[in-house]
Symmetry: C2
Subunit: 207 residues, 2 copies
DNA sequence: GTCTATAACTAGATAGAC
DNA sequence: GTCTATCTAGTTATAGAC
């Protein structure tokens, strides 16, 4: 490939697909360069190490998703009354951007949701710092919004219930259609977002 | 080690600990034999391949946990009235054995919960069949019990809500204390089981 | 059952020509 | 920016002595 910058994005696309399918450790840089149809040395030239590539692949998707989450929180807090947005609205701001990011709006992002699960399960040295940087401010915002909507809950309950919600989302993204028995029909991201929001909102409102 | 059968269990204990800490792929058989203080060739002699060892490590823990889950379902269905056990009771039969299995009742099982998460995230060829064999009958039992307790829910809703519950449990087991901010205090498995059961039961009862 | 030694292979990374 | 060739270090697995 001699088109400028194409090699870089071909590598990112191929890596994302393979990481999502097989897991970070079960994909070699040889697999990636073969999949991207570029030279073996290209990864080292464009990204440095494999860990740096993993971070780049993950960052390309997580940054816009978390930006959308924070923007959604801004929007709902601005338009809500003095008592703040209700639980469903807060959870929607958190859940929907992740599912939208997993739909193939932009080419090559099909495997995003699995990639995401992989990066959370097997962080590795470089990713842990990126994860913390990306999620700490978001979790603080979620915590504040939820405490306002559910003032009777303890901080500990807010934390654990948010963690349960996050776990449900994460598990769904990682396993997707695997293990689904034939009797249960597949659902699209939109319907699933509604199901998860209803489930988690009821969970947050539990006594 | 010349005590009979000791080498085998030393390998299982060391492997369980390391797999839970670092992930299945990031632990070599050299790491395991070093940790178990046995010879490098012992894994091949006692288990065959690394994949077979992974399956043996996982099976040793999951079989008793799932047996306890099925026994608990038997017990609550026998002692319940004609309308069957309520949602909390059913969820308890599913959740509590997993958390009890993660407590160091038997030496060496400290890392069980993380190991469990690893095996679900990175199954690999041999594990997938074991997972299916272990979970399919259990999920069918859970499905039947929950449909009886919540007859107004569709099969699809039962399935997804059980999956959300499972995801919350799985995510907690995998991440445990990582990422917990200082302001939230650590809780024991017993308290956490109660929190999760309350959260999930409310989620199942959502309209 | 346990050990040493090693075979056979794959990994990530890079030097240096083009 | 791209390529080939190769280095170094790691991997699983096993043969064969004890």
């Amino acid at each position: 490939m001699t088109e400028p910058g194409k090699t870089r994005s071909r590598i990112l696309d191929a890596a994302e697909l393979l990481f999502g399918e097989r897991g970070l450790d079960r994909v070699s840089i040889r697999d990636i360069t073969r999949g991207a149809r570029v030279n073996l040395a290209a990864i080292n030239y464009h990204f440095g190490t494999k860990q740096d590539l993993i971070a780049a692949v993950f960052e390309r998707r997580i940054v816009p998703v978390n930006k959308a989450r924070l923007a959604a929180l801004d929007a709902i807090e601005k338009s809500a009354g003095k008592r703040g947005p209700k639980v469903e609205t807060i959870l929607e701001a958190f859940i929907r951007p992740a599912l939208e990011g997993s739909e193939p709006a932009s080419k090559g992002s099909v495997a995003f949701s699995k990639l995401f699960g992989r990066c959370l399960s097997e962080p590795g040295p470089g990713l842990e710092a990126l994860l913390k940087r990306q999620f700490e401010p978001l979790m603080d915002r979620m915590d504040a919004a939820l405490r306002k909507a559910l003032p009777h809950l303890s901080r500990s309950d807010i934390y654990w219930r948010l963690k349960f919600t996050y776990g449900a989302l994460h598990h769904w993204m990682l396993t997707k259609d695997t293990f689904r028995p034939a009797r249960v029909q597949s659902v699209d991201a939109e319907a699933l977002a509604r199901k998860l929001i209803a489930f988690a909102a009821a969970g947050f409102r539990a006594p």
